[in-house]
Subunit: 424 residues, 2 copies
Amino acid sequence: MRIQKKKVKLSCIKAAPRTPKGDHFMLDVATARARILANIPFCGQETTPLNMACGRILAQDLPARRANPPVAVSAMDGYAARVEDTHPGAVLHVVGEAPAGHPSGLEVGRGECLRIFTGSQVPAGADTIVIQENVTREGEYVTLSQAGKAGQFIRARGQDFNQGDVLLHAGRKLGPRDIGLAAAGGHVWLPTARRPRVGILATGDEITLPGDPIAESGVFNSAAFMVSALLEQAGADPVLLPVARDTTASLTRSLTQARQLDMLVTIGGASVGTYDLVRSTLDDVGLELDFWKIAMRPGKPLLSGRLGHTPVIGLPGNPVAALVCSIVFVAPAIHTMMGLSVPAQPATEPAILACAVRENDERQDFLRATLIEAPLGGLPEVTPFARQDSAQLNILAQSQALVVRPPNAPAQDAGTACRMIRLP
Amino acid sequence: MRIQKKKVKLSCIKAAPRTPKGDHFMLDVATARARILANIPFCGQETTPLNMACGRILAQDLPARRANPPVAVSAMDGYAARVEDTHPGAVLHVVGEAPAGHPSGLEVGRGECLRIFTGSQVPAGADTIVIQENVTREGEYVTLSQAGKAGQFIRARGQDFNQGDVLLHAGRKLGPRDIGLAAAGGHVWLPTARRPRVGILATGDEITLPGDPIAESGVFNSAAFMVSALLEQAGADPVLLPVARDTTASLTRSLTQARQLDMLVTIGGASVGTYDLVRSTLDDVGLELDFWKIAMRPGKPLLSGRLGHTPVIGLPGNPVAALVCSIVFVAPAIHTMMGLSVPAQPATEPAILACAVRENDERQDFLRATLIEAPLGGLPEVTPFARQDSAQLNILAQSQALVVRPPNAPAQDAGTACRMIRLP
């Protein structure tokens, strides 16, 4: 089965008139994710050499080009013989030998055997392998200590797979064992999903690249590097666009250059402040807005839309919010673009709260937390950090999980159940 | 702390005289792993740019080069004011504005405020932020609807981290969040462990590269590609050496070229058959053998030693055995070489057997199995495949776990507890 290029039905809601103060509607997280994923096209296929394909997504079913093993082979070092000749004390004539890769062409007759090794082709006439531990050899003769069984220590032709068997299915993320299976099936070049080129556009006059001269109150660009690393792990080929300044001219220049990318991710400037120009500039260059603002903490000012054929996701400028939104929305969008099947909702796991948490407001909360595994398969314990400020990179790096709290969840005591996303 | 180059104390046991048939001693898996890991040197350090460092192992502690935030900044869009001036109905004079990255240089006096935005430096004189949702602005004046609190919506200087704080410790595998933290701390170049160059030497006259012309009984080289992919995932830079033929001359040539590699992994030829020449050729070129043959299934003919300064691990030729031994021995050796802390024994997890298993012999067994997660944090269920032949790549690729059975384990019924290694 070939992955069909998904029909992109963009039922985009045109940007509402710019009335930020009155625009209090926030989309819920589940709907936001579903709408983003529904609008992501397949990124296309490329040919990848076997030894560079680990971690890539297979784009077509992969049939075996030959059987494995291609002929009946021995599973052990020993002697190929006829089962009716094998009994304790039997003496067989060794008519030759056949190392693996060097079939003898001989046929084993009555009272005869052939010296063979693991992987050697089983010669005609033979239907059992007597392992070398069970014979005593003298010159051209072996004396057997045990009877054999028909088929014993023989790997039948096609025991692993036959020609034409589908070894791996489209949409599979290839691991080392898949690479081995594809190799055994005779494949050199694998049809894989292309790595989507994703532009990452950080914005803001206060943002400086690490190592560049910085003002006393300037901050180093951390969100773009963090999002870039996450999306690279997710399978994308990130393009770090030059940081855009807080002017319409600078933003317009950056956005115009993004139209040939598979996806554009902006960071910052999507809030309601006078200097948050990303949203208005996106409108000016022709963004088809799907939604803006979601009921999520961190991550309220999330934007989704399309610029020409390029899906655009606008992330909040706070680095923690940018990262959490990348986990919940952008990485799944990359996966979808490569043909991986992605759950409609983020895969959460059950856990136990190790401390009490307060009641939640109308935004779905993603609390940074540490995690302790249960020793015997019980639920892991999670402890949300007391400080949940979305500028705290140190706490983010120390976190092992995000505790997901639904909108308006009541206060909970220590020891109660919760759901969490494990951080990789 | 700088990672110290580990003192390599090789208490190698010189190769025993070649008496394969009498040589029945098999080392247990735990001792074999401990001895391999004890003899692995640190591979050395290199300088990696920030945007290429995700997934690498940090080789030195990383101190912050400046505080984050570097000055007190606003966490919201609003007005910086003096807390004693803020009460419902208060009217404040807006003396100016300061977008993020553009400090005003103004001081906020009594009855005054400054328009600021998320990330803006908090001006001198101000000790609270009144968020814009809580004011009505008319011209140069704002009327407040609520009282403020001292420090409210202000991120103090160094709230995330201070200059000199250790952000990340040596030996840490860097993830996206760590990259963000390093960036925020002002780092462009990260001290990382070098990717060890690991030679992978497949041997055997029956082995053909996928795509090359192949004899009827020939098999495509799958193990080398599988091991290469696994070791690349583990952090190594694999070097696929040309397949060596079953002649002393071919093997000697390949082995001689391996001395400048960080590690050499051979595949096949380490058994006891007449054509299993790897072990004897390794002896000839000066291998210091540590051990050969372990009590493990699959994987009995495992070899460990050193060729000059290069650690050598000899894997069995059966692809499944080669992969399982790579998981249990080689990947942890790569990790150790890069300064990652590695558990003495493979990290197993508890699980429940979904079917009965027979009693085990003297070899530790690693059964290929499927795995079903428990819905509510209970133990996952594992089902070993009926066929455990070590040439079955198809079953290997379908497996999700290795059920680990200790030597001489008794028969077990369905529903009893076991230990397993999750396959990635």
